[in-house]
């Protein structure tokens, strides 16, 4: 159910967009090529555009990009859970909440990032080399019916399967089975297409659905993280805020470490241990530069993430060393937030209240 503010924002944005002056889509944009003087930038850019388009050729400009071979996949250092890691006590809740003992100049704000919908089930498969090190990983998700339509996917190799580039070498495949949307995220497209036929959504309870892996998995794939139910959840986040952007932010994600790493740029991964928690440094190509991320497994199903666009890994590690994990009440009191409670109902839904 949308809130009044959500409804207001949709209406205001729609009205404002309608107020935008008419913009001519004429091609070629003659206003560009005839500009001189102060607007000479436009003349130069149209030349660049002309050359690039000519080089791209008539065919395949917007077709699927070149297929990725196995040797392009990122190599993930050992990401299997440490033997001492245990499942969190409450899978329907975040159990660990970060508190930063911070002496820096910025003010630290705490908040909950809230996803109110059942997120379906998610797990991870991958290929492990002879030493037990996974060399590629694929995240699989099965969503409740109607969860998302993924409207911008490009038609893939199989009817009904869409592809979306999500950064780095990673691609999301989307399709549906029995009315349930499925997605797969990974960087080995050939293997992902082979895997589709081995995934079968299954009814777990009358209200929740997971998936089963059918038959021998292709390409030596093994299951790295079993499917877990993503329920409505409040994830704690603390961050700096200078009014324009965050210098860093810290959050706890309701996903195993391996899942937190899939979808980022894996080339820069290095093992790291901070405050007794094992994890990895990772970079993630963003629209505005490179995000550096520290991902630490704090249980088999929760991951602590410390990230920044501007700080070095050494600076991020110094921040991470000042993090203490507490319960929700302590987190809420420290950052002056309202407390929340969540109850797992008999039908599998989660009731969250402030």
């Amino acid at each position: 159910m949308p809130t009044d503010l959500e409804t207001d924002l949709r209406r205001v944005f729609a009205l404002t967009a309608e107020l935008a002056p008419d913009a001519s889509p004429d091609w070629p944009p003659l206003t560009l090529v005839t500009q001189t003087g102060p607007r000479s930038k436009r003349s130069s850019t149209i030349t660049v555009l002309t050359g690039a388009v000519a080089a791209a050729g008539l065919i395949g400009v917007f077709s699927i990009g070149s297929l990725r071979s196995a040797d392009e996949t990122g190599v993930i250092p050992s990401v299997q859970p440490e033997p001492t890691l245990r499942p969190s006590l409450h899978p329907e809740l975040i159990d660990a909440y970060p508190i930063l003992r911070w002496n820096g100049p910025e003010t630290i704000y705490g908040s909950f990032s809230y996803h109110s919908d059942d997120q379906g089930w998610g797990g991870t498969v991958g290929i492990v080399d002879a030493s037990g090190t996974p060399i590629t990983a694929i995240k699989i998700s099965v969503f409740p019916p109607g969860y998302s339509t993924f409207p911008d996917a490009t038609p893939g190799r199989i009817d009904g399967v869409g592809e979306t580039a999500v950064g780095g070498n990673f691609v999301t495949l989307t399709w549906a089975m029995d009315g349930r949307p499925l997605t797969m995220v990974g960087d080995n497209l050939d293997l992902m297409y082979e895997l589709i036929g081995h995934i079968e959504p299954e009814r777990v309870t009358p209200s929740t659905r997971g998936y089963a892996l059918r038959g021998d998995l292709p390409g030596g794939l093994v299951e790295l993280a079993v499917p877990q139910h993503r329920v409505a959840m409040r994830n704690p986040t603390i961050a700096t805020d200078d009014g324009q952007s965050n210098r860093f932010d810290i959050s706890v994600q309701d996903a195993p470490l391996i899942e937190s790493l899939v979808g980022g740029e894996l080339a820069g991964l290095e093992s790291v241990t901070i405050n007794g928690f094992h994890g990895y440094t990772s970079t993630h190509p963003g629209s505005y530069g490179t995000h550096r991320v520290l991902a630490l497994a704090i249980s088999t199903d929760e991951t602590l993430l410390v990230s920044s666009e501007t700080m070095s890994f050494a600076e991020l590690q110094a921040v991470a060393e000042q993090i203490e994990l507490a319960d929700e009440a302590t987190f809420a009191a420290t950052y002056a937030l309202g407390s929340t409670s969540a109850v797992l109902l008999d039908n599998g839904d989660v009731s969250i209240s402030d």
């Binding site: 924002l9 070629p28 791209a56 008539l58 400009v61 592809e163 994600q253």
Partner: protein, 162 residues
Amino acid sequence: MNVSSTAAMLDGEPAFVDFYRNQYQRSFRLAWLLTNGGSDCEDLVQDAFIRVSKHADRITNPPAYLRTTIVSVCRDAQRRQGREDRRLRLVAADATSVPFDTHLLALVAELPYAQRAALVLRYWVDMPDTEIAATLGVRPTTVRSLVHRATRRLHQELSHAN
């Protein structure tokens, strides 16, 4: 290269021409929202199309790539412009004397760019958080945090005004 030869070569690219024509108006409106009605929207959108064209041979999802590029160039433009000029020019300063929609729009214009972009992508483009995350280059949890912080601030400001 002269103008006539430029036009001739571009006219020979039906895929990109169609893409440009189909996407231009909505792209312009996205830039309009992201820059609070900035005067340089047309330049920004043109720049975005040029960036797309430079990578056209290896883009698997041109609309998504274009949208991401527009978000990026608008952010860069906002940084250049500075905070003092971020208010939408349609908006009056006195919140008590203007209609609610105008006041809300003024408050949105005051938000940090990342928060404003998250709201526009969610409530105008209607994107799911996973796609907003890909567009902004952040994680889905960060998107939810951005939206949460933005809406909390809007709630506070609106409550204060009332």
